[in-house]
Each structure stands twice: as C-alpha cells, then as structure tokens.
Symmetry: C2
Subunit: 300 residues, 2 copies
C-alpha cells in the first residue's frame, strides 16, 4: 500500500470567535497526511522553510508519515492568515505569503513514483500536472483545488480533472467550476469530464458523493463545539484516501462510502481544537466509535 500526498505544509494565523492563534502549524498536506496516518503510512511531498519546527517533523515521523519528500529550503515557510465569522462556513483570507512555496518544483523520490494512490491537494494546477507526469500508473488519483485556481487557471485544472478518479470540492467551488447552481447537476456535469467520483463537501451540512449511477449522502457529525474549522476538508480527504489505501480498494462503491464516512469522522475531530492539536493523541477506538455513531445518526 502507498499513498502520496502533495500539498502545503504551512504556518496559519487564525482569528476565530474562540480566539486568535499566531503561526500555528497547518497546511493541506499536513492535515491530510495526519488524518491518513490513522489508516496507513502516507508519503508527504511539500516544502518548508528553515523556520519550520523540528518537533512537527518528528510528530510526522512518529505517526509513520514518510517525510523524505518534505524539502527544507532556506527561507520562510508558507504563511496563511484568515478570519472566521460566527458561521464557521464563512472564511476570509487576510494574507497569503507563499515564501519558499513560490519556487517549489517537487521531484518525487523514486519509490514515491510507484504509489497506488496520489492525492493532489490544493496547489497550483501547473504543479499538480507536473506531479502527475512523474508518477507511474497509480490506481487512484484524487485532487482538490480552490476558487483562486478555478478563476485563474481553469484550463490546466480541467485537463487534470480528466485524469483524476476522485475530485474533492466544496459547494462553492463546484458551482463556480461547473457554472451550475444545483449541486447534483453540477456534480453530474463534472463527472462527464472524467472523474469516477465527485465528493462535494458542505461543511456543517456534510457531504455528497456522486458516482456515475449513484449518490451517497453523509451527514456532518453534530458538533456543538466548533473551535477551528481549518483543515476539515483536507482531513476529510486524508481519512478517505488513508482508508482506501488500507483496504486496497480503489473504485468499489461500498468502500468509497465507508471511506467518505471515515473522512467525515476525521473532519469532525479536527475542528474540535485549534490547528492539528486534536490529531496529536487521538485513539483509534475513538475514530471507530464515531464511525458507528454515524451509522446510528442516519439509521431508520
């Protein structure tokens, strides 16, 4: 089994109704790899500056994450600053300092190129395309993106979409990319462009997983205490892909459904505290417990 995750490892400065945090560790690659590490040993591909804390890299290693693809470059780590309103689905980006990420041209270590699953987290579509050209016959390619790239680089984005099996998008992104207001229509339109599954993430409203002839709906876990929504989507993808890598299932609908629920479970934990805190000591049995609570949540 092998899962390669390409994304950002970053510092986040966050303002939420529950307080402010300065330069805590975040990034799509971070959240996704940590979430996946509960199921498998993901290989991370990212770049950080020489200001990045050694203890976080040690945390990655202690959780079985392969960090040979994590470059350390002279300079400052990518830094993102954002503010959340009372509605945790509403987020405003205040500042994005790419720093060492600006000139990042990842070269995958040789054994990374044999990965079964490749996840292209939100980064420049040109970089995503470059990564794809380096991997050999993965069994499953998944991608995520953000509005910025949909607006500025729709061409490369749609080219990548043709090659991926699973596209993770939130409701805003999929409406923008498909030019459809109805989520089901939007998803079906994008399914025609290549992916086997479209995962539409809807924050506190859960997610929809659309396949060629199937729709699967997942509730979000009913959290009363949403402290910091950062990383929920990336943790969803990490739980989803980590589980698939563990069970070596790449297109069975039943496993895709379970993977989606594990994604939702991991997302429901990460928002209960700031940054990656919640993943630092999360027993596997708590994950399994919540998985079964999801069954109870929707059974009738």
């Amino acid at each position: 089994m092998s899962l390669v995750i390409v994304g950002s490892v970053a510092f986040d400065t966050l303002e939420t109704p529950h307080g402010r945090r300065e330069k805590i560790v975040g990034g799509s690659g971070t959240y996704c790899s940590l979430a996946a590490s509960f199921f498998t040993q993901p290989k991370i591909v990212a770049v950080v500056g020489d200001d990045f804390p050694e203890e976080t890299i040690e945390l990655f290693k202690s959780r079985g994450i392969d960090v040979r693809g994590l470059e350390i470059q002279p300079g400052k780590t990518f830094h993102w600053e954002a503010r959340y309103g009372d509605d945790p689905n509403q987020r405003t980006t205040i500042k994005t300092e790419l720093n060492v990420f600006k000139d990042f041209r990842p070269q995958l270590p040789p054994d990374y190129r044999q990965a079964d699953i490749v996840f292209l987290a939100n980064i420049d579509p040109d970089l995503q395309e470059d990564i794809l050209s380096q991997v050999q016959k993965p069994k499953l390619i998944a991608m995520d993106t953000i509005n910025l790239w949909i607006k500025t680089k729709p061409g490369p984005l749609l080219r990548i979409l043709e090659k991926v099996n699973v596209y993770f998008a939130n409701d805003e992104e999929i409406k923008l990319l498909s030019k459809e207001q109805n989520l089901i229509k939007a998803g079906k339109k994008l399914l025609e462009r290549g992916p086997t599954f479209i995962v539409i993430k809807k924050g506190e409203h859960g997610a929809l997983v659309l396949g060629k002839d199937s729709v699967f709906g997942i509730l979000a876990y009913p959290c009363e205490k949403v402290i910091d929504p950062t990383g929920a989507g990336d943790s969803f993808a990490g739980g989803f892909l980590g589980y698939l890598d563990k069970v070596k299932a790449f297109d069975k609908e039943g496993e895709i459904r379970k993977a989606s629920v594990y994604g939702s479970v991991l997302a429901s934990f990460i928002i209960e505290d700031f940054g990656i805190n919640r993943f630092k000591s999360l027993p596997l049995k708590d994950i399994e417990n919540r998985f079964f609570q999801f069954k109870k949540l929707v059974s009738f």
Copy 2:
C-alpha cells in the same frame, strides 16, 4: 386516528428562475393537509374568501381531507407574493395581503377538539394559543412559525413552545429564537423549553431531528429539478404528522425517524412542480419507492 391542521389556505404569486405564477393555490394548511392525506384523513382549520376556487375544495374532499373547519367568508383570500433567487433557499417576500385572514378567529367543530394530533402551522401565535385552549388532551402537539412572529411576538411564542411536543423550524428561525449560531446548541437550548423533539429543516441540506438524548439526520433527496420550493417545509410537517397519525405513534423515536423521512420524501416531491400540482396525482407507491431510496442514499 385524527389529525387537526390549523394553517393558511391562500393564493400565492411566485417568481422563480423557472417562471412566474399568479395567484395559484398555496398556504401552509394546504400543503400540510395534502401531504398528510397520503397517510390519514386530516381535518383542516382555515379561512378563505369567496374568491377561492371550489375545485380546490373538491380536491381536498377527494383526498379525504375533512373541510368542515374550512370557513368561507365574504371577501378576498389571503394572498402572498414572493420571489426566489437561483439558490432556492433564498426567498424574498414581496407582499402579504391578509384579507379574510385578518379577522380569523377559528372555532373548532366539536369532534376536532378530540384530535390525537394538533398541528399549529405558521400563523399568529395568539391564534395558535387560542386553538390550544380549544382542544382536549391531544397526544401530540406540533408547531411551526416564521421570523416575523419570533421578532414581534416572542412572548406568546415561547409560552406555546412549552406546551408543544414537536417544534418544526428552519435553520434561520431556530438561530433567531435561541440566539445560538450552532444548530445543535440552538436545538438543545429549545428542547429545555418543553418540546420532546425539535425538527430543524435545512432545505436542500435535509433536516436534523433532536430529541433529549438523540440526534437523527436526514439528507434531502438529491433533486436536480427544483421548480418551486414553496410548501416544502409544510409538506415535510404534513408527511411527518400524517405518518404518525396513521401508525398511532406519538413519541417513539423509531417512528419519529421514519416520520421524518416521510416528511422529507413529501417535501422532495412538492418542489418538482409549481404549487400543489405534484400532489394532485402522486401514487402511494412512488412515495414508498422514494422512502427506500432514502435508505440507499445513506447506507454504508
């Protein structure tokens, strides 16, 4: 079995992205009674003017709805005008002409007072309170309301809430009434005021049913063709209460869950066409089919 529904029977003028309709039959009591009529013989309490079409009253009768509580007064029927945006969850009221509804003081026919289930659809809380004073020991009281009454008559509203078993609210309304942004917190806060179950309707995102120690989540049926969202919430309540009246279950959680799914099923049909069209000839087997599709939608 007996279910009394107090609400509005009205003319609606609607502007939607799919077209405009002038003075078509609508109203909370209309949608709710028709939806309930697939399971039981509801008794309606409402008032219309002498301009109201006889054929709609005949439709009510043909569907087994007891119309002895439907007064016909000289004057014009209640008329509501609204506009929907591309997002069917966003609705703007353009005009509300109460007409004969302004002086409506319903007197329940004697056998209505023995009802097992009483539904107070969205009307003036003073009227809701008056109705409650007329019924004798119902086994289940349910209510709905809108932002207007939460803002203008919170006192009477909270008094009624103490007496009801099921409170139906949409996400906006429950946030406003509870002064909580998180839906789970909002629901729990209102559970403390009396109701046994709070049903939070979230439009295209489905619904949450909160009990003292339980949470049940229902997806909305994935509709590609949302023509007219009017009446979705009232049809939900009608399907929900009609089913409970049929099975004579008033507080069993398992039945409340099934009732919620039937509510969601009925709501998913009504939005597929303008006004009450979809309920005019809807085979029971289509309702049952969709109920089982809901099971498939969430099973993993």
